[in-house]
């Protein structure tokens, strides 16, 4: 039942309209391509697509919100999405990609893939006329659009905030783990930060991907005991919100309210903690996970439509701190845009025909 229905329609139609769509840039898009009948034809052909979302890992709230973004956008376009996760096994992800190609999905979304592991599969997909849009995967194959959050920038935003709050000096704790590309990008910014602020000393560094939150909590407790005087630790920089949660818990429970935590990534859960005035976690930088998903889907549909899309789309991150949030009301990532400029509700990647498609689906 799945996959076969639209199979024939896809190839021919998409390539036909492909010649008609010249533009590459994001928001501005080709509008009128012939008569309105042709346009509605266009729209009709985009309905009922089967999309595969291949994820390397699907745990934690960030992933869940990202998947939501993808799902909602595809539903708005009248399509269907299958989420296939690899449980952090890159070889399984490669196999899943192969399977998705064999099963003739109409489009493939990748999340946190890896060029080395996926390039063969991606080539196969492209050869089979299946468009691919990747998020945080650095796929090098021509014809793939890479959506990326600017990891270095997120790190810079939080680190700069940390430096200015601390007055350019102090003792900090770094919680970070190697082994994941985004983490390693964040580390580059951290390196630069250390050179820029020689008076800010790293007194401890730890972190593991294996049970990150509880481990960070336990180890933070040890560090707090090692530096028991108030003021001996200025701040904690956590390169991942899972770490930030653990560190914040430890500090809060130890009553060391002078220590501030700066994290990266933002989920509803994290927002709650940042808003909580008793929590030491004061700021984070992130891209809205849901809008990452939405933007990724839009570019995929552009590709299905036959448009040429840019090779990379970098989503700007937003810095969020407690002061910018209201004190009287719980904020979630969905309504964060009311308080923080540049958050969410991005219409990046949207085009007129996609809007028309949304309306057509909604009208049904």
């Amino acid at each position: 039942a799945c996959g076969n229905k639209n199979d024939g329609a896809n190839g021919g139609n998409a390539s036909a309209s492909g010649s008609a769509s010249p533009s590459s840039s994001a928001a501005s898009s080709p509008t009128a391509s012939g008569s309105s009948a042709a346009a509605s034809d266009d729209v009709a052909s985009l309905k009922g697509k089967n999309i595969a979302l291949l994820m390397r890992l699907n745990t934690g709230t960030f992933s869940a919100q990202y998947v939501d973004g993808v799902k909602k956008q595809i539903e708005k376009f009248g399509g269907k999405v299958t989420v296939i996760t690899a449980d952090d096994k890159l070889d399984v992800m490669a196999s899943n990609l192969d399977a998705a190609v064999t099963q003739h999905y109409d489009g493939i979304l990748l999340d946190h893939g890896d060029d080395g592991a996926l390039s063969t599969g991606v080539q196969k997909a492209l050869a089979a006329n299946i468009p691919v849009v990747a998020f945080d995967s650095n796929i090098s194959a021509a014809g793939v659009t890479n959506i990326a959050q600017n990891d270095q920038k997120m790190a810079e935003q939080t680190l700069e905030a940390l430096a200015s709050d601390a007055g350019g000096k102090g003792n900090i704790v770094k919680i970070w783990v190697a082994g994941f590309p985004p983490m390693e990008s964040r580390q580059i910014a951290y390196k630069a930060f250390q050179e820029k602020y020689p008076d800010i000393k790293e007194i401890a560094a730890f972190g593991t991907a294996d049970g990150p939150q509880l481990d960070a909590q336990t180890k933070m407790e040890a560090i707090l005991k090692q530096y028991p005087e108030k003021g001996s630790i200025t701040a904690v920089w956590a390169a991942w919100d899972e770490f930030a949660k653990g560190a914040a818990n430890a500090i809060k429970q130890a009553g060391r309210d002078e220590i501030k935590v700066y994290g990266i990534d933002l989920s509803d859960e994290d927002l709650g903690m940042i808003q909580d005035t008793t929590s030491p976690w004061v700021a984070s930088a992130a891209v809205d996970p849901a809008s990452i998903g939405q933007v990724q889907v839009r570019y995929l549909y552009q590709k299905i439509h036959g448009d040429t899309t840019p090779a990379t789309v970098e989503l700007d991150s937003v810095y969020v701190n407690r002061d910018s949030l209201p004190a009287d009301k719980k904020v979630t990532t969905a309504d964060l845009s009311q308080y923080v400029k540049g958050w969410g509700a991005s219409d990046e990647g949207s085009t007129d025909y996609l809007t028309a498609l949304e309306q057509a689906v909604a009208g049904q």
């Binding site: 336990t218 040890a222 028991p228 969905a334």
Partner: protein, 328 residues
Amino acid sequence: MNHKISQFSFKYGALIFIALVLVFFSLYNEYFFTYSNLMDILRSISILTFVAIGVTISLTVDGFDLSVGSTVSLTTVTTATMMIWYQMPLVLVIVVPLVIGALVGLLNAFLIVKVRIPDLLATLAVMYIVSGIHKTYTKGYSVYNNMQFQDGTKAPGVMNPHFLWIGQGKLLGVPFPVILMIVAVIGAHIFFKYTRQGRQTTMTGGNEEAARLSGVRVKRIRTWAYVASGVFAAIGGILYTARVGSGQIDAGAPMLMDSVAAVFVGYSVFGAGRPNIIGTFVGAVLTGVLINGLTMLHVQYYTTDIIKGAVLVLALAVTFIHLSRKKT
């Protein structure tokens, strides 16, 4: 003389080793051997200890419960959702996970005792099932105060502060989870050492057929052992939620190997060569001490693994070289 030294090292080797480690860390860092740091260490191992006691019990009846990690995960999200999604009263929030732990134990026992699937195989299968159930239940989400659902609505509840106290509060200056842990360790030790059912459990593990022919109801004993294992894992799950203040997905997965390692270190305590509660506790303490002390030494987390492994080898080598020498 020589024999006596080896006998001594065999019995007290593990304890002496811990003492040396403690002395080393204390000399290295003045803050290590403080009351509050030691309490931190004990608190940090309280969850692990509960899970490890469960594993010890299953090993005592010559079984092996691989499903404890996923039981921790399941009970963690259950506890959190009961407060955050359904705003249930505290009693239920604590009782229901315990019942769930017992049910997982019953499932294990059913497969092992009735269907007669070997323990490792049965509990591995249950591990997958329980792990799948807990993710399906929350659709892969972690559960936190006022979390937002996919349909845009918000969860009505927050974590009960009394509940959080279980994981974070103190009683007479001692963290409550530490008190719970000590009570559990002493209780379980007394149970195995001084009670009838405890003795029957140990004997069943020693030779099931002989126990059966001695009139021990071995099926019942093995069943309760797996149920106990599940319940202890559930307590671990409850403590986990209370400690981190939210219901994390897959929280228990890393607990399996860590608790097994603690139990195995425990084999060498007092030269038992067998699972035993005090040994398990010592193993957990050693784990906690190493993590805390090595963090203070700024040793990278990955080096900790090597040290953990080496300590395990050392402890086991002393015990088993000795035990095998005794045999021949």
